[in-house]
């Protein structure tokens, strides 16, 4: 099931304010193929949590034999999200096999999306998550493009978190450094719900991660986090819009990354506070470390506030390694190069530290270390 994509949509995107720094016009020249032969032999390699439910898609096609479904997981059921429709996302939405997740899911559900083929393919991925009142759902999405074609993956995950529910989703983008990834997370929260998203970008050539969140009930808690470690010719564009539509909600955006060679990052975080949404507490932070003179980080924190009793802050730092921390490590005998590597690792790993699930975390740390210059030194420290 490979959808025909109207390429022309990509040609002019970067002429719009919202896409200013992410030029994907090359995509308008790619002829995408239908992918006929799907190689399922690679799947087991990425099945990193064999005790957990697993849902596998290859090029948007559900792989029943490789998946482990459980209660509350269904494919192509009638459930359809409406959250996407609220956003003004320019990323096209198209057909693919569709996963719906409902009811309590205390074991992290692993959704594995593999994009492969010897010719460029354009693939959609559709996931709908519905946590009813008081339910808890935990999800890990792994998006991997295999082979170095101009593959294009457009995953769209919609989350509806009802009153008092709790949804955690960790999305990691791995694999090929020449694939395109234009993804969206669309979130609606009802009163006193908690949603946490974590978007980790370690692969891809042009990666756009959109988060659209609507806090429609009081006392919501929202954490939208991101981490990236990119190198030669890679770009990540994290684009968020968080709407505080009701009073007394807390939201946090915390994105941090390291850029080597000529890698680029863009962070746009728009916090919108409706006029009645008093006592909003919203914070957005973007921290970058540049390892090369050619690396570039663009931060665009934006606040749009119509209420008068709110606490909204934003901060962005782009810098190098802290001198005091360097000295501390060196006074313990660690040479400067190794100390710098250790501090970069620490900076990124802090973002992974909070991931509850060991299996997923260790895979991400391993992948991080293969991207990180000097990562083998860090591996030698494992206990």
């Amino acid at each position: 099931m490979t959808t025909t994509v109207n390429n022309s949509v990509f040609e002019h995107l970067h002429k719009q304010e919202d896409w200013l720094y992410s030029n994907v016009s090359e995509l308008s020249n790619v002829s995408f193929d239908a992918c006929k032969d799907v190689d399922v032999s690679v799947i087991s390699k990425y099945d990193i949590a064999t005790q957990n439910p697993l849902v596998v898609f290859v090029n948007g096609v559900f792989q029943e034999n490789q998946s482990r479904l459980g209660d509350g997981l269904s494919i192509n059921s009638d459930n359809l999200g409406e959250v996407y429709c609220r956003s003004n996302s320019q990323i096209p939405r198209g057909e693919s096999d569709r996963l719906s997740i409902t009811s309590n899911q205390h074991k992290t559900i692993h959704i594995l999306q593999i994009i492969s083929g010897n010719n460029p393919v354009a693939v959609f991925g559709n996931v709908y998550v519905h946590a009813c009142q008081g339910e808890t759902i935990s999800i890990a999405e792994t998006h991997i493009a295999i082979t170095n074609q101009d593959h294009l993956f457009m995953p769209c995950t919609e989350i509806l978190a009802e009153k008092d529910s709790c949804v955690t989703i960790v999305r990691s983008i791995r694999g090929s450094k020449s694939a395109y990834h234009l993804g969206g997370l669309h979130v609606t929260q009802h009163a006193a719900s908690k949603v946490q998203t974590h978007t980790i970008t370690l692969g891809g050539k042009r990666v756009r991660n959109e988060v659209y969140a609507y806090l429609d009930g009081e006392n919501c808690e929202s954490n939208f986090d991101g981490m990236y470690m990119l190198g030669k010719d890679q770009l990540v564009d994290n684009h968020l819009r968080v709407e505080h539509n009701e009073p007394n909600c807390d939201s946090r955006e915390f994105y941090k990354g390291v850029l080597d060679e000529n890698a680029k990052s863009v962070f746009t975080g728009r916090i919108y506070v409706k006029e009645d949404a008093q006592q909003t507490d919203a914070k957005q932070t973007n921290q970058n470390i540049l390892l090369s003179d050619d690396a570039q980080a663009t931060s665009r924190p934006q606040l749009e506030i119509y209420a008068d009793d709110v606490a909204c802050t934003h901060g962005a730092t782009t810098g190098e390694i802290d001198d005091e921390a360097m000295l501390y490590l060196q006074t313990r005998g660690i040479p400067a190069d190794a100390a710098r590597t250790l501090l970069i690792y620490a900076f990124l790993n802090e973002s992974l530290d909070e991931l509850a699930d060991d299996a997923f975390r260790s895979v991400l740390v391993d992948e991080l270390l293969t991207n990180l210059p000097g990562g083998e030194f860090i591996q030698s420290l494992y206990l």
Binding site: A325, L327, Y328, Q330, T331, R332, A339, D353, L383
Partner: protein
């Protein structure tokens, strides 16, 4: 004659063009504990930073010899490898790296420099447990990120533990007593006292006499305005406690009595 462990001669150092140390002389023999006392801004922490190799401080004159080696020729990490340890007044927090992980890097870097085989995970953990026990440190603390969320006392105890683990010849303690209550102070001092040996020397930098009740020094030096203005035995600390630093201020006359 025994080579001094540390010999500082006419040391001048500046930070951002301002001279802080204005001719410090200090000789520490193996096994000795020297205390440097002085008021705020006298240059105490600068002295420890310069010994450790902080790049922000520029040495404009003088020398520091460690076991006969020119310390100023070495980078901070090389100074640690030859046997200098600085216990920080404010140990740095490093979120994202566990203390054990960090210390494995340190121990093996030093072993490599000294031409010893690097320790594998098993031997390293044995060493850590052994040293933690010796300074009464709860090993669980070492699974946490470096100094992150540690109490003031835990940070200072972790510094003393690191000193025990890295086994230096010279320990420089920069205001290790600051921010400690009396119980924490005793534990930290006990840890330091266990590390005293005929080969190892200490420079204990402190603002207050209190610490010296527990780490009893062989010599006390008073640092004022970048110079050592008075040296004596431990009784000097008591004089300071009674009379304050004011008694040691230069009298302003030209008789060179200060």
């Amino acid at each position: 004659m025994t080579t001094p462990l540390l010999k500082i001669t006419d040391l001048h150092a500046s930070v951002e063009g301002t001279e802080i140390l204005k001719g410090v002389n200090l000789t520490v023999m193996p096994g000795e504990v020297h205390s440097i006392m002085g008021p705020n801004g006298s240059g105490k922490s600068t002295l420890s930073s310069v010994i450790a190799g902080h790049e922000a401080y520029e040495v404009t004159n003088g020398s520091i010899k460690f076991n006969g080696i020119d310390l100023l020729e070495l980078e901070a990490d090389q100074r640690a490898c030859v046997g200098v340890f600085l216990a920080f007044q404010y140990p740095i927090e490093i979120p994202g790296v566990s203390t054990k992980f960090f210390l494995k890097a340190a121990v093996n870097a030093i072993r490599k420099y000294r031409g010893q085989d690097e320790l594998d995970a098993m031997d390293f953990l044995d060493l850590v447990e052994d040293k933690a026990k010796s300074v009464n440190l709860n090993v669980d603390l070492l699974d946490r990120n470096v100094n992150q969320g540690f109490s003031g006392g835990e940070k200072k105890r972790a510094e003393v533990f690191q000193m025990a683990l890295l086994d230096p010849l010279l320990g420089v303690l920069d205001e290790t007593d600051s921010g400690l209550d009396i119980d924490a102070l005793k534990i930290v001092a006990e840890g330091v006292n266990k590390l005293r040996s005929p080969e190892r020397g200490f420079v204990v930098i402190t603002h207050y006499q209190r610490l010296l009740d527990y780490i009893v020094p062989d010599f006390v030096h008073v640092l004022m305005d970048g110079k050592i203005v008075k040296s004596g035995d431990k009784s000097l600390a008591l004089v300071l406690e009674e009379q304050g630093y004011k008694a040691f201020e230069p009298c302003g006359c030209s008789c060179n009595c200060g």
